[in-house]
């Protein structure tokens, strides 16, 4: 049994280009972080960057699934990785939104799972509050990585494009994204 946890946020990068570059460096630097300590460092950096830029978050979603965790993980990973093949036009024109996604698959019932459960114990009315997202991203490095079965960090688009046009992330295929409040 595995639990899935995923967070996706669209950040306004205009004037804050360092978000993408910092997260890009994190991905590249931690490509070889294949031990528990390296994983914690990787996710600490990612969480710090996302928390720092939380004021720029405009759209978001998150999930914690204890049923069907592996399938959800697969769907998120697959859906995100297919973006590597998107034509430029699919990102819209002249956009400046950067979509950052973090996904985890942890052992159900483990301390990592309990940590996620406690973190995600949030009133429904506050699901999409900025403070909620800040709380969620801070949990990344708090996980016991010996109980993490899989994880992924995604930044789209890459540094070759300016960003998503907002209408794209508010349109078909991204209906699940909600405005970040507060």
């Amino acid at each position: 049994m595995s639990t899935f946890f995923g967070v996706q946020l669209a950040f306004e990068s205009k004037g804050r280009e360092e978000l993408r570059s910092e997260l890009g460096r994190t991905v590249r630097d931690h490509r070889k972080s294949t031990n528990v300590l390296g994983q914690r460092q990787c996710w600490s950096r990612a969480a710090a960057a996302m928390a720092d830029f939380m004021p720029q978050a405009v759209l978001g979603t998150w999930d914690l699934l204890r049923d069907g965790g592996p399938a959800a993980y697969e769907e998120w990973a697959s859906g995100l990785e297919v973006m590597a093949g998107w034509p430029d036009a699919d990102f819209g024109r002249g956009g400046s939104l950067v979509l950052v996604s973090a996904i985890f698959l942890v052992e159900t019932g483990s301390s990592a799972d309990l940590t996620l459960g406690e973190t995600c114990d949030i009133a429904e009315a506050a699901f999409h509050d900025r403070a909620t997202y800040a709380r969620l991203v801070k949990v990344f490095p708090m996980l016991n990585f010996t109980q993490v079965q899989g994880s992924g960090l995604y930044i789209a688009p890459g540094e070759g494009l300016s960003g998503f046009e907002r209408s794209v992330l508010e349109g078909e295929g991204f209906e699940y994204l909600r405005p970040v409040r507060g």
Binding site: G6, V7, L64, A72, G85, V148, F174, E175
Partner: protein, 448 residues
């Protein structure tokens, strides 16, 4: 990509214009998502997206990927790509993007060897079509590659697909050599106690097996999964299987015929943890020593591309040494030797051995007449089928397997269920569960 002692493996890495990403999985666990690597290029995987065949999706996330784990080896299958587009222009762009993600077949053919386009339907039953005629041999067939068309959800609509017949000039030549070998073995009365192991580049192994198929019982053992950036170009081997399928389906009417094991000769192609290359290598999967002897095999003809280069591939050392110890002769045959004229030294030696020394030299056989009179010299030299009178030998004929250190151990099959290569069966494409732009909501905590 990683040391075995690592806690995590990098399952995917992207650093391209449209995506920067890394995905890890805990070492020792099956990955929960496809294993992909991509750097500065387009989305990279091995199976063709269903494109316009797929039902319209509500989201662009739908119709994406399915993952299967194959005997501890991870395999990724794409069952669909972006097909939810907002206008025709975007649809064209999406299709163009999809076309870049599949392997490229170098020598495609519109038809199979018989000039038929009916290969599309046959692709779906490839594994069953290529079953050996002798039931005892069937457990040793490896279906990993031959199951790919069916498992990828391959349908009759194939335009633009990489799953298609292919044939190169070298393959045709290999087929002819295979047919010559069959004719020669038939002429010499070869029977079930002979096993021929074709260890040639995949398409040529397939083509040679097709040449032998009418005479011998063929067992396909290709164990490499296609990938556009694969170390092993097994999509070309699959193309050869589709091209030569009608010939491969020819069965000997007499079960007391040699058996042919067709290997992917490039299965151990060099790989040095390159980030932009997909490691789809494998080790040979052949019967164990005990299984060979149980099958009644007493002679093994190991066919490699070149004469004189007699070192067996690393994954076969243990098996061949074991066979020799069990009293099974293992001999080397350079593929290009098949049908070739005998070397002058052979002619001289055999002529001297077969004719009285007092015979006038003018009446001795010349090289050219010897060719027509003794076309099987390359089989006689092993001492089988009567053997050469002179005892003449060369590097191929004197080959004997010897134990040596290798970095790769071989895998053998016991003919039982424990190692049956059927793990991909039944793992076809599935529909994504995304609905209304969400990802399978439910469970204890939901953020939207």
């Amino acid at each position: 990509m990683n040391e075995p002692t690592d806690d995590f493996l990098v399952e995917a890495f992207f650093d391209s214009r449209t995506l920067i990403a890394v995905r890890f999985s805990a070492a020792g666990l099956p990955a929960a998502a496809p294993a992909l690597t991509l750097e500065g290029a387009t989305f990279d995987t091995w199976a063709r997206g269903r494109g316009n065949d797929a039902a319209p999706s509500k989201t662009r996330w739908a119709n994406t990927l399915v993952v299967v784990a194959v005997g501890g080896i991870l395999v990724s299958i794409v069952v669909g790509v972006v097909n939810s587009v907002r206008d025709d222009r975007a649809a064209v762009a999406a299709r163009e993007a999809a076309s870049r993600i599949v392997p490229t077949v170098q020598s495609p053919s519109e038809t199979d060897v018989d000039g038929s386009t009916a290969w599309q339907a046959g692709a779906l039953t490839l594994s069953e079509d290529l079953l050996p005629i002798v039931p005892d041999l069937r457990p040793f067939g490896v279906r990993i590659l031959t199951d790919v068309p069916a498992d990828a959800g391959f349908k009759a609509r194939v335009d633009g697909s990489w799953i298609r017949p292919s044939v190169a000039p070298a393959d045709r030549q290999a087929h002819d050599r295979g047919a010559t070998l069959a004719e020669s073995l038939k002429g010499l009365g070869a029977s079930r106690d002979l096993a021929v192991i074709l260890d040639l580049p995949g398409p040529q192994s397939v083509a040679a097996a097709a040449g032998l198929a009418g005479f011998a019982d063929v067992v396909m053992t290709m164990d490499n999964v296609p990938h556009r950036r694969g170390v092993v170009k097994s999509h070309e081997t699959l193309g050869a299987l589709l091209y030569w399928r009608p010939r491969l389906m020819k069965r000997p009417t007499d079960v007391d015929r040699p058996v042919v094991f067709a290997l992917e000769g490039d299965r151990l192609a060099p790989y040095a943890n390159q980030q932009d290359v997909f490691d789809n290598r494998s080790t040979a999967r052949l019967p164990s020593v005990e299984a060979f002897t149980k099958l009644g095999v007493k002679k093994v003809l190991y066919v490699r591309p070149e004469s004189g280069k007699t070192v067996e591939q690393d994954d076969l050392v243990d098996l061949f040494v074991g066979l020799e110890k069990a009293g099974v002769d293992v001999r080397h045959l350079g593929f290009t030797t098949i049908g070739s004229p005998p070397p002058d030294s052979y002619v001289t030696a055999e002529t001297a051995a077969s004719q009285p020394a007092s015979q006038p030299s003018s009446r001795r056989a010349t090289s050219s007449s010897y060719r027509s009179g003794l076309p099987y010299w390359w089989l006689y030299r092993y001492g089988w089928f009567g053997g050469a009178r002179s005892g003449w030998t060369d590097t191929d004929a004197s080959y004997r397997a010897t134990q040596r250190g290798t970095t790769i151990g071989g895998r053998t099959l016991d003919g039982g269920a424990s190692q049956r290569a059927s793990v991909m069966s039944g793992l076809g494409p599935r529909s994504a569960t995304s609905t209304g732009g969400t990802w399978g909501r439910g469970g204890s905590g939901v953020g939207s």
